[in-house]
Symmetry: C2
Subunit: 332 residues, 2 copies
């Protein structure tokens, strides 16, 4: 079934069919009705490739992240897909894996597929060394980053101020009387660096314990976290609170600490479903993923309109500390 078939059935030209297909008003009501009827009857839909070839667009946006299996990215992709659907855009999902060597290739690949825009969630590849490539891409299609700041002309970054959020978390812990806050993280991505900085800033401002052993890098597995906590306890590193860059690290550390009779206030980050599954339920820094995604879509859509307004190259939302049992129990 092609536009020719419909045209033939209606005794009109393909131009006319195309016009009703695209909602032109330069068609008489009578012909429109006739064509519409035929389209419906034949269950006809225009060939997207031919359409794409002519318009250089298939109304598709590329969504890039390191791994959708991660709860944070999954939530982001879900929000994005849902929002884009409303605007009649499809999403082409591309996961880079933990940036081994695929790197920016995935983005380049997306470009070759002529997507209409790209949303990059998190830090799927290093920006430095790829700045030129990114800039060139941004000149061709809208490029928006969630939880990363590319600082490149033509790129739009939607971020949560996790640094301030983590600093506030340190203050909150300090208010419960803690002096030695153990900080756990797994990777120094853009987000990871800022969280760590927030922790350091808070600790410094409040004159808390700054010994290096209180800042620990660990893989995101229960075993690794358990081994690390055991080691710290054995070495008598005197932590009286735990702050982590990821809920999962916080949950793991909380359990091990408590099982060793070392119950302390704990705060995680991402406010994922995991936080609610822990016992005690985990206080967590909400990085407003919903707002970030909502803004990203709004930005993308506006940029894709012919007369795009000037948009902020950087949009920042505040993080929000969601207090749950892991924290409240220890409040005075």
């Amino acid at each position: 079934m092609t536009i020719y078939d419909i045209a033939k059935k209606c005794n009109v030209s393909i131009a006319t069919v195309s016009r009703v297909l695209n909602g032109s008003d330069r068609v008489s009501e009578k012909t429109r009705a006739k064509v519409l009827a035929a389209i419906k009857e034949q269950d006809y839909a225009p060939n997207p490739f031919a359409r794409g070839l002519g318009l250089d667009s298939m109304k598709m946006v590329g969504v890039l992240c390191s791994d959708v299996a991660d709860a944070f990215y999954a939530k982001a992709v879900s929000l994005i897909e849902h929002a884009l659907q409303k605007h009649n855009f499809d999403v082409m999902l591309s996961c880079t894996g933990e940036s081994n060597g695929k790197d920016i290739k995935a983005l380049r690949y997306l470009m070759q597929k002529h997507v209409d825009a790209v949303i990059i969630i998190g830090t799927p590849f290093a920006v430095q060394g790829n700045a030129a490539a990114l800039k060139k891409i941004a000149e061709q299609i809208p490029l928006v980053a969630i939880n990363n700041n590319y600082k490149l002309p033509g790129t739009y970054s939607i971020i949560c101020d996790e640094q301030a959020g983590m600093r506030n978390a340190v203050y909150a812990l300090s208010n419960t009387g803690c002096r030695s806050i153990l900080y756990l993280y797994d990777a120094l991505t853009y987000s990871g660096r800022h969280k760590l900085n927030g922790y350091k800033q808070g600790v410094l401002e409040l004159g808390l314990d700054t010994q290096p052993a209180l800042t620990q890098k660990t893989p995101r597995t229960f075993e690794a976290v358990a081994a690390m906590i055991h080691r710290l306890l054995k070495q008598k590193v005197p932590f009286d609170a735990i702050l982590a860059s990821e809920d999962i690290l916080a949950v793991a550390a909380q359990r091990i600490a408590r099982r060793n009779n070392h119950g302390v206030p704990v705060i995680g980050c991402n406010n994922s479903i995991i936080a609610e599954c822990a016992t005690p339920t985990l206080t967590s820094l909400d990085n407003r993923l919903d707002r970030l995604c909502e803004t990203a879509i709004k930005t993308i859509i506006q940029l894709m309109q012919s007369e795009a307004p000037a948009l902020p190259s950087k949009t920042v939302f505040d993080a929000n500390l969601i207090e749950r049992e892991s924290f409240q129990t220890h409040k005075q």
Copy 2:
């Protein structure tokens, strides 16, 4: 940059460029090298729409589920995307939401986009009433279902025998001395029905307590589960074990029960990250998502080859009970 530009630069015809592009061996080494050099120098990549128009394929497979934010679907999508990437297929993600009214429309939409194949994860829409449409689609492109059984000619279903798995879980609980197993579920999807059947089967076979109050439907929220458990305890419904169709329900129920001094063995299902986050860690029925996805991809790929071999319309994997603390503590 088009194939014409490359041809001109190399003083050859577009046919020759096309040939080296598609790895034909009917090109002299000298020309091939020349063309390849030009392609690289110009960073040229064929226009996917033009290619798609000619071949009626953009090497893209549609992946359909109700919501990627769900840990189970997220994991599945991740596995699928990863595997498809290796075969140079892209994934177009489409989420239906909790089948309100969008229904099978998403699948139809995918077809209009001329995807090369479709993978349906779980139960994004009702099969009954859509059998004809599904059959027609399956005649056109490979259609494989994960954790659903369409029983339609041309469709391929990859399933985990969760019914037997749940039955075994009941046996395992019974072995710890339980007689009244509380069963929690949230929806009677294909998977949901079979899990429930497995529970019923086990209970029946073992002559365990069958009172209706032991089978509870509840939304997937902590509040709802808490309210339900409280109600059961108040009504003195005498459950001495909990089995749930989803890890999240199990985790929620386990916590409330324990807080009311009603610690019982608990088993969830999906063996998601959530199971490890609970305290005590949750015993869970692993439905072998990795195997399911691996098989789905293998099937899809084979079906898309010109000479597709005969493949089983239904492939079944056994579920696997992963024992953790929520169960072992109660073992004799």
